[in-house]
Amino acid sequence: MSETLLAVEDLYKAFGALKATDHVTLEVRAGETHAIIGPNGAGKTTLISQLSGTLRPDSGRIRFGGEDITRLSAPARSHKGLARSFQITSIYRDFSALDNVALAVQAHAGHSFRFWRDARGDARLRDPARAILDEVGLGARAGVLAANLAHGEQRQLEVAMVLATRPRLMLLDEPVAGMGVEESQRMVQFLARFKGRQTIVLVEHDMDAVFSLADRISVLVYGRVIATGTPAEIRANPEVRNAYLGEEA
């Protein structure tokens, strides 16, 4: 459990005068679910974007599995085993659920300069995609256009796509955002199934979700990590209560 999979070292990113990521250092251990919490505007999504490669940090380093990935592009990081879900559901709305997952499988099945064979008839893509849809409970919805899925199903589909890349680390950006109480409880139960099996970095606003899923929590306020610890330690931390939990929980 103690081996470090992802190490963020002195990461810094500013937008003009705004220090969105202010010398952040944190470690994610293999197998753990590591939550990053913080009030609105704390820089959570900015941090995730730098981890996934969609944003370049101004300075600092990101190591993944011991390798420096700070300069790698998002597709390259995906091939190293980093996979991301977005705060605003990011799926292919004009493709079927099965197509969505099959594309994620395809992205990790060698190059795609294959011009002739029908990709939708290719069992090497469809079979694993179907298995993952079954796994996330969308098996019966495989043929449905992604745009026509319910909001919760779309979020599950996005997680299915993340899983289809067979990641070593899943970056989940507010997976229960925009969900009702019941729907978000179901999502939490769903994510709980991956605990221990997958390494997860979970950015989340919903404290119930965070405290039921996380092994460790880092608290981000104004771009700085003010505390890292187990859920019990975080709950008891006076600085955290003051800066954040006190207002909401």
Binding site: S52, T54, A83, F86, L125, M161, A164
Partner: protein
Amino acid sequence: MPRRGRTLTIVALLALLAAVPPLAALAGQPFYLDLFRRVMIFAIAALSLNFILGYGGMVSFGHAAYLGIGAYAVGILAYHGVHDGFAQFALAIGASALVALVIGAISIRTSGLYFIMITLAFTQMLFYLGISLEEYGGDDGMRLAGRSVFAGLLDLRDPMPFYYFVFAILVACLYLVHRLVNSRFGMVLRASKSNEGRTRSIGFSPYPYRLAAFVIAGAMCGVAGALFVNQTAYLTPAFMSWTRSGEIMFMVILGGMSTLIGPVLGAAGLLLLEDLLQGWTEHWQIILGPILVLVVLFAKRGLAGLLPGGGRDE
């Protein structure tokens, strides 16, 4: 499944096109042979643009460049006494693919309005290059020294074989695009259009796939250009003017983007309507404009959306 309806629609349309020469002969109106050959040539050009625009999301506003390059490849070889169709078409394909590679390599790094402007700018450069080629007629252009001859097989000076030659190429291009957009390659291309951020984060770099598609489309439009100069027997830099690019793009939108048959319908719709209105009045453009606006407004998926199974691919 709408697929079945779509296949039937395509087959019916192609059967109609195949029946044009005997019908035109029967009616004693050889002019229609000429008109529908023109329709099919532009259908090939529009098909190639739709491949990158409709399926790839690349709004190339300079697609006439490849029409011009294909035409000049044939015209220049013919001027120097080379009438062999194999050599002419090979040069047309090779040259337009090469130019598409250069233009694409630069322009695909940009997106949105910049992409539109860069593709337009490159085409304007080629347009002025055409004007500066005094040897080949400069601004005025020149007569095609002779139509392409495929030794022992085909002579494009005969209107009927020429017609079926264009028809065969159109069918081949339709089949090629159909295979391409449904292949793994095509899925990446379409996924990149649908959601680029998602595509990158599952591990695809869209750039090389887009560039390959851009080159394929350029080569296909180069063939249309080689056919077009055989059709007009004349060649001018106006083949590469930006209004020509706009016309091809309009055919794609009118017919229905991201549908296989849409570009064929768009080319037929625009050119036949033009021809019809020209017969009625010399102010035909005043009528054509509003009709086109109405179609675009009310048939959101273009002409293809009005036909059975002709809507967007699933």
